[in-house]
Amino acid sequence: MASHIAARCAALSARLGTDWRLCLAALFLLIAPQAAAQSPAPRGLSTVAGAPPAPEIALSDVDGKPVRLSELRGRVVLVNFWATWCPPCRKEIPSLTRLQRMFKPEQLRVLAVNVGEDEETVFSFVPDPGFTILLDLKSASLRAWQVRSLPATFVVDPEGRIVLRAVGGREFDDPAILAQLRELVRP
């Protein structure tokens, strides 16, 4: 394909009496913006300006056990807001399971905050996810975290600051994300 384009450029340039490299450069300028528009988006997490303190989360897990975010200080916490009926949320759940397996619980914890659904609904969907699922029946925590759409994910550093975030689904064991998280994890 590339050699074909180069040959066409050479033929056209010979006819017009111009340098064939100018033709290739012009083609590149025409094609590059379209290629950029169609290329897949970066799959990492974006940096949160100012690293604000994470609002407290005090909810119960699916077994009724109370969990507080502030009690996890000293480790990285990935907070994910989700619902079972949300397609991108459903899609990224297996990658959260894989992510939790890649880190020791004292290094990184995944807290998945379910929005507005009861224990039976959540348990039926993910009976054993391998990470902590919290139930926010009133969706109150989403206001505190200024969540505007699902799924939404935040990474809290060991000092309790929000340092990374993602709007929309991700594959959390993507190498780009793993590299970002490993930078935060204390050895």
């Binding site: 459903r90 507005g116 993602a166 709007v167």
Partner: protein, 201 residues
């Protein structure tokens, strides 16, 4: 009840369809369902789509049957679900692929242009007032709120969302969607042409 038609548009809701079906599910059935791959909603081609300066906007129409089934399964009574399903409902996806900065959208600034004039998507607060008046359960109202395309959203590169929007009255024939967003504070406008509401079931 699974949707009978509008399969292409419904593909955007592939994951939703799995959870539309009401009634008891055995734990084994749920586990089997969970084991199936969930189609990437962002990868499904919408009915209308534009790639515009590093952002992608996709719009898919949803049939009244799909919409009604989805909200019934979220706890709406049949009449309330029917009210929303009677609108012209779309599923929208907006993604910042490579806009070169933070993309900010404000849905209230978007306009629909029809032969009869212009209209806006029904604001979320208007629906919330209606569900409150009708006594729709809190759990159902929470699901409704988070299933909608958000009124405001910032998208860093790589961010994307999907959500429903609705038009009442239903526009007749084809119409245009004038969208707008800003990238690092610089406003951008564009138009998606030839949109149509889904036919009734």
């Amino acid at each position: 009840m699974l949707p009978r038609k509008g399969i292409r548009a419904g593909a955007v809701l592939a994951g939703l369809i799995c959870v539309i079906a009401p009634g008891p599910h055995s734990r084994a059935a749920r586990a089997a369902e969970q084991a199936q791959p969930v189609e990437d909603p962002a990868a499904v081609r919408p009915d209308w789509q534009t790639a515009d300066r590093g952002a992608m906007l996709g719009v898919s129409r949803l049939s009244p049957g799909q919409v009604h089934a989805f909200y019934r399964a979220r706890g709406f009574d049949s009449e309330a679900a029917a009210e929303y399903a009677a609108a012209c409902v779309f599923q929208m996806v907006l993604r910042n692929d490579a806009a070169g900065g933070t993309l900010a959208s404000r849905l209230a600034d978007w306009r629909i242009r029809t032969a009869a004039g212009t209209q806006r998507f029904v604001p979320l607060e208007a629906w919330e007032r209606e569900w409150s008046r009708r006594g729709v359960s809190e759990a159902a109202r929470i699901a409704f709120r988070w299933a909608q395309f958000p009124p405001l959203q910032d998208f860093a590169p790589g961010d994307w969302i999907m959500g429903m929007v609705a038009l009442t009255p239903r526009p007749k024939g084809k119409f245009e969607l004038d969208y707008t967003w800003s990238i690092d504070g610089i406003s951008h406008r564009g138009t998606l042409r030839g949109l149509e509401c889904a036919a009734g079931d």
